[in-house]
């Protein structure tokens, strides 16, 4: 079966952008540890640098300070080694390609274009049988996201990075895709980092939820989620689940409150 995922160690990472002559610090002192095969959810207020953190781990951007290490490799080495799969809020499919060929794109890019079995397997895994020949414009938003997820998985990456992949979807579709994501993750054991706005989503799918402060972003709380797997929708109705959601929610509100205090502090 699949390789076990890579562990991710992020220590003291900072990233500052120059914006219209101004400097904006997106991340500062950001720490994160994801064990091999772990599933981490990053949650925080808008603009707290969640996506920046993910892009740094993906090797799409480089930190100004701090280190990111994955199994002895830098993000850039991971990227160059083609060991990463990404899916963003925008599915970013190629409109002129079909479902199958969009998924195959990732294989083409890593030089394994003939691995048709992997493509077929994933089409089935994300439930798109019968739509193999459809183009993105003929698919619903949820189906497009599934294609993007399938594309991110088809190369059997050691690290899966998801930036609000279900952000633009309705609640029902979203829940359905979360179930599938969990199923896929259980089957593959890929190290996964999910950036999300939704607390219930984070609590439902992740082993650990990291709560981030507003800009400059850093991790202010960690919640280990101990629910047994596979998690089912019944879990959503339990008091344990609600208590966990409440706890994360409280951390999130505290994190925002702290900064307001810091800002108003005259010293």
């Amino acid at each position: 079966m699949a390789r076990r995922g890579a562990p991710v160690d992020v220590v003291g990472v900072g990233r500052t952008f120059a914006l219209a002559g101004d400097e904006v610090t997106a991340l500062s002192g950001f720490d994160m540890h994801v064990p091999a095969g772990g599933f981490i959810a990053l949650i925080g207020p808008s603009g707290c640098g969640k996506s920046t953190a993910l892009r740094l781990v993906a090797g799409l951007d480089t930190p100004d300070e701090g280190t990111i290490d994955m199994d002895g490799s830098s993000p850039d080495e991971m990227r160059r080694g083609q060991r990463i799969g990404v899916a963003f809020q925008d599915p970013s499919l190629l409109p002129w390609r079909t479902v199958t060929t969009n998924i195959r794109l990732a294989l083409e890019l890593v030089g394994r274009r003939h691995d048709t079995k992997a493509v077929d397997e994933l089409v089935e895994l994300v439930g798109l049988q019968g739509f193999e020949k459809a183009r993105p414009s003929q698919l619903s938003g949820g189906m497009r996201q599934r294609v993007a997820i399938a594309r991110s998985l088809v190369t059997k990456p050691d690290l899966l990075l998801l930036d609000e992949p279900f952000g633009a979807l309705d609640a029902l579709t979203r829940q359905q895709l979360n179930d599938e994501l969990q199923r896929i993750w259980t089957a593959r054991g890929t190290t996964t980092i999910l950036v999300t706005h939704s607390i219930p989503e984070a609590v439902y799918v992740a082993d650990e939820v990291l709560v981030m402060s507003p800009r400059p972003g850093s991790v202010v709380a960690r919640h280990t989620i101990g629910f047994e797997r596979p998690r089912t929708r019944e879990l959503l109705l339990t008091d344990r689940f609600h208590a966990e959601v409440e706890a994360v929610s409280a951390s999130l509100h505290r994190s925002e409150g702290q900064v307001v205090q810091l800002d108003t502090d005259p010293s």
Binding site: L60, D61, V86, F88, D90, L93, A106
Partner: protein
């Protein structure tokens, strides 16, 4: 541009090896390139091309201008005035037609067909025909200048009227008011940005029309001055004229662009070249009617033109006469072999030139995408050159390349190069960041990026440019042939013109126009099919 701030925040660290030149301001880079080109030009003209009549050194051009500045400024003023009148009348006509098309939708197809046909006319050859009506004065260049702007302004105004927000139109309708009120209160205002984009293109086009009108005979103006200088091999003079024409045409383009931005600061830059092609209505009968009605209207106009101006039968040829000339009179086979033989030559050299320009433009656009500092150095120059009516500079190219089949190819290549480059590059820069991120996350090679992202995203712009390029390339080719090469249908027309053989002239004009219209529609049909197949994801 607002994109700068955004890219600063989201742009990924470019792969290491980004050149230090990336930090030099674009103005400095472009100026440096401009000066380098001037120096190289001077050097070449003084050494390799010295005494060859092919290339004038920039210093000689300046000296020539000041020595005969009275002559030059007088003629420049004359041509500019002609172009200004043409600009005025042509744009008024275009806007009136666009208003009619919007208020009376059932007229739209027919008006569109007439306007397209006008755009496809070989202007250089209809000058002698127009002169029959207008006499030897300045009216023919003005008329040509007006005809040269009708199509683009019509398309732009129509696009503008159509861009009116549907919800605003519904508000007007909900108060029980009709189309006219909606037009007055919503559409007119909404059309301003698109209209200005069209008027901007019309400025150099009007100048082109005026100069082409003067090529075939006028008392004054840059066109006739060029033709005389070409006959006398006065290289410096031809260069001075080309430079002046370029400056005035580009100045008009920039001035109207600035006015448009001043009047509608909220509006993004609109690309009128990218107007979507109309969808065919369903049903075979509808389609047939949609095809035949415009053709019928064009023929009605043809007859009306002859009748209104009461042109004598010796000069005036009806569609029936043209048909007879080609297919039923005794010398028809000979006429056919002359016309179609020459047409073959023209189409062949034109297509070759177009493909050369296209391949060059695509390659340059890709180089610009992959090497940002080169783009910053050269793109401003390409954007400026795009607005130049290249046809006006035909004599310069004739001198440089020589008189032969290659001249036509060179002119068409230069004509297609700049618009295709600018349009395709702009489209490539709009490749969604998300797609590029996905490619980057797999460490995709430049080749993979080009194949999977940049090239496909530029296809709509490429096809839109190609559609417009069909008539303009044929115009460029016939002008070159008329003035210089002695080959192709342009040469057939100039021979007929000098012999007062109006039969051949009319037949050539008709055949060329039909070929251009068919070419335009073939590209449009291909464009529609491709866009449908590539899905809406990348079109605007």
């Amino acid at each position: 541009m607002s994109a700068t701030a955004e890219t600063a925040a989201t742009a990924p660290a470019r792969p290491a090896g980004g050149s230090r030149l990336d930090r030099v301001p674009p103005r400095v880079l472009s100026s440096a390139v401009g000066i380098a080109v001037l120096l190289l030009w001077e050097l070449l003209a003084r050494t390799v091309y010295a005494g060859s009549y092919r290339l004038s050194p920039p210093t000689a051009v300046v000296v020539e201008f000041f020595e005969f500045r009275g002559l030059y400024l007088r003629n420049l003023w004359h041509s500019t005035k002609t172009a200004a009148w043409g600009f005025l009348w042509g744009n008024l006509a275009a806007m009136a037609l666009a208003v009619a098309s919007t208020l009376l939708p059932w007229l739209r197809r027919s008006i569109g067909a007439v306007v397209l046909t006008v755009f496809c006319l070989p202007f250089i050859a209809i000058a002698p025909i127009l002169r029959l009506i207008t006499g030897p004065g300045n009216a023919t260049p003005i008329a040509l200048s007006a005809l040269a702007v009708v199509f683009t302004t019509y398309v732009a105004a129509l696009l503008g009227f159509d861009l009116a927000p549907g919800s605003a139109l519904d508000v007007v309708r909900s108060y029980g008011r009709g189309r006219l009120t909606a037009f007055r209160s919503v559409r007119v205002r909404a059309s301003v940005p698109a209209l200005f984009a069209g008027l901007q293109i019309a400025a150099p086009a009007a100048f082109l029309g005026a100069v082409v009108g003067e090529f075939t005979g006028a008392h004054r103006g840059l066109g006739i001055l060029t033709v005389r200088a070409l006959g006398a091999l006065q290289t410096d003079r031809i260069w001075v004229i080309a430079v002046m024409a370029t400056i005035v045409a580009t100045g008009g383009y920039l001035a109207i662009g600035a006015l448009g931005r001043y009047l509608c600061p909220w509006s993004p830059a609109l690309d009128v070249g990218a107007v979507p092609v109309p969808h065919a209505e369903p049903g075979l009968l509808n389609r047939l009617a949609g095809l035949l009605a415009p053709i019928a209207v064009v023929f009605v106009f043809w007859y009306a033109f002859l009748w209104v101006f009461g042109i004598e039968p010796f000069f005036a040829k009806t569609p029936v006469d043209v048909w007879a000339e080609l297919f039923s009179v005794s010398e028809a086979p000979e006429t056919r072999s002359i016309i179609f033989g020459a047409l073959g030559t023209t189409l062949w050299t034109t297509s070759l030139g177009y493909v050369v320009g296209l391949v060059g433009a695509l390659a340059s656009a890709l180089v610009f995408i992959l090497v940002p500092w080169l783009e910053r150095a050269l793109m401003p120059i390409a954007v400026a050159l795009r607005s130049i009516p290249i046809i006006v500079t035909t004599p310069v190219i004739i001198l440089f390349v020589g008189r032969g089949l290659l001249t036509t190819t060179a002119i068409v290549a230069v004509m297609s190069f700049f618009p295709t480059l600018v349009n395709c590059y702009t489209a490539m820069t709009r490749t969604p960041e998300g797609i590029l991120d996905v490619l980057r996350s797999y460490d995709a090679s430049s080749t993979a990026n080009v194949r999977n992202a940049y090239l496909p995203t530029s296809v709509p712009a490429l096809l839109a440019s190609a559609r417009i390029a069909v008539p303009t390339s044929l115009l460029g080719a016939t002008v070159a042939e008329w003035l210089a090469t002695g080959d192709g249908i342009g040469a057939v027309m100039v021979t007929a013109f000098t012999r007062n053989d109006f039969k051949i002239l009319w037949v050539s004009v008709a055949v060329l126009t039909i070929v251009a219209v068919i070419g335009y529609w073939l590209v449009a049909a291909f464009e529609l099919r491709t866009l449908e197949r590539m899905a809406s994801g990348i079109s605007r």
